[in-house]
Amino acid sequence: MSTISLEPVPGRTDEMVVNMGPQHPATHGVLRVVIGLEGERITRAVPHIGYLHRNHEKIEEARSYTQVIPYTDRMDYVSGTQNELPVVLAVEDLLGIEVPERAKQIRTIFFELFRIASHLVWMGTAMLDLGAITPFLYTFWDREIILGIVEKTAGARMLPNYYTLGGVRRDLHPDFFKDVADFLDHLERRMPDYEHLVLENPIVHARTKGVGVLPKERAIARGVSGPVLRASGVAYDVRKAFPYDAYPDVEFEIPTSPDGDTYARFWVRFQEIYQSCKIIRQLLEKTPKVGPYKGKAPARLRVSGERYRAVENSRGELGVYVVGDGTDKPYRIKHRGAAFGNLQVIPDLFIGAKFSDAIAILSSLDPVFGEIDR
């Protein structure tokens, strides 16, 4: 965050510098982009972030590893337990904690449920940015069902603090398997409606096809990950590349699209919802109804060593770099935000686009500022 670095060029009267954000309705929170506009065309774009900065990393240096976990929830607040996993995995690696198979499966089910929830929120807000209000309310109602399922087991809805070292905190609620199966049926009934309203809509085609093209090499070099990278044709998915938890045991595909435009990002997220449904259905059959949900974690943590662990968040590679100094508190903990990496491409994609396109591109990047500003 800094002062405006985009001063009007003296003598140039055809360019208008506008300040999009941090109170702009389509910036998904508190992004601020200073934009030079030539008519409707964007000539310059400088993003500013940091309006939601809390310095998680400093706070977490003064907390023990178990106390860090609820703080990580507050980063990507749309996808709940997904944030807890990298810290848990890194510390489990460093301490050599064994995780029971059932605990891994439970974690994976929650992980994928939150991926669906996050993509539903994306779908609603992206369509809201494009001007359609109705899908927003539909998707939020579907997400509500997921949050209800999570609340029944974990006790909280958005920020559940559910994963812990060696497994999960609580056993599943008796209704869990039935609820999840019912929800998947419900979602599969609703997905054709979403396809009619979003993917097949000719206006969405007109707004997104060929808009904000991110070529493959540029995407890799820019360090974007997740659906944005896969929409550029790179089949990089941490779930397949460096599998964790129960992902080695399930079958799923990585949807990729060679186009790299905004529509491809929309399409990839839709396919990911289907793949998540597939993963959860496999796991519902595999997971034993009864069994251990937590491995043995030492009561007094003495973590030493350094470890970078990453998971495939709904926005991309969410990593954590833990440096332990032999106590129960991290010496240094660094979060690599997925949306943080993705948001860097704003100048690449904005410059040369129309102002309306900028809104569509931003919605297709799906930033969440709790994680970007940390």
Binding site: T66, E151, K152, R170, D171, L172, P174, K289
Partner: protein
């Protein structure tokens, strides 16, 4: 010809979308009437904290300071002194700043006697932030008013009509599936 097809496809897609939207008019909305009807929260839901007393009104808390140590947000303040008669400690002060609390339920995990518990009363809106600094009387009153609460050690507990505290049936418990499945297996065996 392809142009006409394209136009036809676009018109058809818009028509399908409009039909998709309009069919909701004939369905009952899933709205919850919150201020009129309280939502049915699951028993493990973390909405607020309470300090449970025993059935005879004596203090369950043994003032071991585990919750104070476990709290990530450092909102619990406990002062204690040694019990002059008998062993253990007595509470001087037990404060939870519910405005700063992030409801992660780490204190509930840490409590060895299930004295601090999570309850379902979520209506804590107030005009004055300072009223959310809960002291021990407030926490006791919260527990007295609630009919059920949760702690990982004892599971979901309910207060019966005649004031006794007992464990809730397994279908309310997280992990109650094991108990629910057990008799069925026995029946199959016999």
């Amino acid at each position: 010809m392809s142009l006409l097809q394209e136009v036809w496809q676009a018109v058809k897609a818009i028509g399908t979308g409009m039909a998709t939207v309009h069919k909701r008019v004939y369905e009952e909305p899933p709205t919850e009437f919150y201020p009129y009807v309280l939502p049915d929260l699951p028993p493990v839901s973390v909405q607020s904290l309470a300090l449970v007393e025993n059935e005879d009104g004596s203090e369950r808390c043994i003032v071991c300071l585990q919750c104070e140590r476990a709290c990530p947000a450092q909102v619990i303040t406990i002062e204690r002194h040694r019990n002059p008669e008998g062993k253990g400690f007595l509470i001087d002060r037990f404060d939870i700043d519910l405005a700063n609390c992030m409801y992660c339920a780490a204190c509930v995990e840490a409590c060895p006697v299930s004295s601090i518990v999570t309850i379902q009363d979520f209506e804590m809106s107030t005009y004055d932030l300072h009223t959310l600094k809960a002291d021990i009387d407030f926490l006791h009153e919260q527990a007295r008013r609630s009919r059920q609460w949760y702690s990982p050690k004892f599971g979901v507990e309910i207060r019966t009509e005649d004031g006794r505290i007992q464990k809730a049936p397994p279908e309310m418990q997280p992990g109650g599936l094991a108990e629910l499945l057990k008799p069925a297996e026995e029946e199959v065996d016999s």
